[in-house]
């Protein structure tokens, strides 16, 4: 059966307020991905998968509106949702469709226009992201959910607020070199540590920000891919898992079970070890989430994630460069677009197209994309 490769990647800038419609936002990312492939025409695309978190959308069933605007009728289109992991779930489904032979070439478009809602509307939806029956009634926000993990790790492993702050310092160092990132200013360790509390021990700079943005990843069978681009990047491993929505039912409060499980699957399928990865994009919706990702992906042992950032091992010239495009923390997190943006970064790194953010000689890259508070986990491994 045919292997599957990424042939084109595109992404809009991630901004506070994009000032255009969701269709126009998606068009920008789609156009960039088609042009990126080089020798691909829109009519070569025989299906599209549209991904976002629907509670932020005004448009009912956005896939139809977006596929029409991109000129992709009458090819099949449908919608995929797994909150912040939506677009990597879309890529997983596209992989299955291409592998089965049902499709040859699929565009996975992820988007979110969070500025469409007022901040109180956004906060209301965030409250419903917890179990609405037993946990939302006590006032649970996303930062509070991750703060519970942070506190448990400080207790069990001695993780520090300074280690968490160092994650943000790293991300802001790289976002200023990424023209698509929302934060174009470096922040210091002192600024992070002195910022106002959001959900203690998490403070303002421990949290990513809402953003508008879209991403597009075009995938094809390897045979087709070779005709469309000189630099296809193959998918060599995929893993996907889930954990309880209820925080009370998490059996692990110092790491994300769904990431551990998805990671195991992806490494097994790829037939490689964590140490073989040259560059990784992980889901740093909060600083603590990146530290947990180091451990859950096997880049270090449980409890040693804080040490990895202390030793600067995850900087561009370290042993395991992570989130060297600014990550969610400093690039911005337009929910449905995030996974596709992570994949775009890894594909560019493996092609050697990452410019100032290039990790030298990167051949194997990994994407770790999480939905909710450790609810949905996707891990995808790519090879040049």
């Amino acid at each position: 059966m045919s292997e599957v490769a990424v042939v084109g990647v595109g992404q809009t800038a991630f901004t506070r307020a994009c000032g255009v419609s969701i269709k126009e936002l998606c068009f920008e990312a789609f156009k960039e991905a088609v042009e990126d492939a080089g020798n691909l025409q829109p009519h070569d695309i025989d299906g599209s998968i549209i991904c976002s978190a629907p509670e932020y959308d005004k448009q009912r069933s956005p896939a139809g509106a977006i596929a029409e605007y991109l000129g992709l009728n009458p090819k099949p289109t449908f919608y995929i949702e797994s909150v912040c992991a939506s677009s990597t779930t879309g890529i997983r489904v596209a992989y299955g469709l291409i592998k089965s032979g049902l499709n040859d070439t699929i565009a996975v478009v992820g988007f979110q226009k969070m500025s469409e809602l007022s901040s109180s509307e956004v906060q209301e939806r965030m409250g419903r992201g917890a179990d609405i029956m037993w946990e939302s009634p006590f006032g649970l926000s996303m930062p509070a959910g991750y703060a519970l993990f942070a506190r448990a790790r400080m207790q069990k492993y001695g993780m520090t607020e300074e280690q968490m702050a160092k994650i943000k310092v790293k991300s802001s160092k790289y976002s200023v070199l990424n023209p698509k990132a929302i934060f174009q200013k470096e922040v210091s360790l002192a600024e992070c540590l002195n910022a106002r509390p959001v959900a203690a021990p998490l403070k303002l700079y421990d949290c990513c920000s809402n953003a508008d943005g879209a991403s597009c990843i075009i995938l094809a069978s390897v045979e087709k891919a070779k005709k469309m681009t000189d630099t296809p990047v193959k998918i060599i491993g995929l893993g996907a898992a889930s954990d309880s929505l209820s925080l009370a039912n998490k059996t692990n409060l110092t790491g994300l079970n769904c990431a551990v499980e998805a990671s195991k699957q992806a490494f097994k399928m790829a037939g490689i070890q964590p140490k073989d990865v040259d560059v990784a994009e992980v889901h740093d919706c909060f600083t603590v989430a990146e530290i947990m990702a180091y451990e859950n992906l096997g880049f270090c042992k449980p409890g040693e994630g804080g040490k990895l950032i202390e030793e600067a091992q995850t900087y561009i010239d370290g042993d395991m460069p992570v989130n060297i495009d600014g990550g969610l923390l400093s690039k911005g997190h337009p929910i449905g677009a995030t996974g596709g943006s992570q994949v775009r970064t890894i594909v560019m790194e493996l092609r050697g197209d990452a410019g100032k953010l290039q990790v030298k000689g990167a051949e194997i890259g990994l994407v770790h994309n999480i939905g909710g508070v450790g609810l949905y986990g996707n891990v995808i491994i790519f090879s040049r």
């Binding site: 939302s136 006032g139 021990p201 009370a248």
Partner: protein, 140 residues
């Protein structure tokens, strides 16, 4: 009494476990136990995902001995909870191994809070005839 009475803001009105709210109003915190396979559920549920039995649950009281696993002080809240900030959210585990998420009573001083501390789960009455539960110090 319907389930909409549970918690300050609740999006669930219809459920097979609405009696939980009646018990809570009477000062009791009840779990359910499957008559077929004996699995205990807290929060309660009427469907057993262990043996797939339906509506074969007995209400039961749980030993009210809990240990604090983790906590956060929320300075920022979802819509409707803003005036409560800051408040402490916790996850605690019972002697039987059940876990629950709720708030810690505002009567507990911040310097008293520590992972591993002993807690008890207590019904509370809220404005507008609503009911909930929160953790307090076990020794109180």
């Amino acid at each position: 009494m319907g389930f909409e009475k549970f918690g300050k803001i609740n999006y669930t009105t219809q459920t097979k476990v609405k009696d939980f709210v009646g018990y809570l109003d009477k000062g009791k915190i009840e779990a359910t136990q499957c008559r077929v396979c004996k699995k205990v559920y807290f929060p309660p549920q009427m469907d057993c995902n262990n043996c797939l039995s339906t509506d074969q649950m007995d209400w039961m009281e749980i030993a009210n001995e809990w240990t604090l696993l983790t906590y956060t002080k929320a300075h920022f809240a979802p819509t409707g909870f803003e005036e409560d900030t800051p408040y402490i959210l916790v996850i605690a585990e019972s002697k039987e191994g059940l876990k629950t998420f709720t708030r810690l009573s505002k009567d507990v001083g911040e310097d008293e809070i520590a992972v591993g501390m002993k807690l008890k789960l207590v019904p509370v009455k809220l404005p507008n005839e609503k009911v909930a539960y929160e953790f307090r110090l076990a020794a109180e």
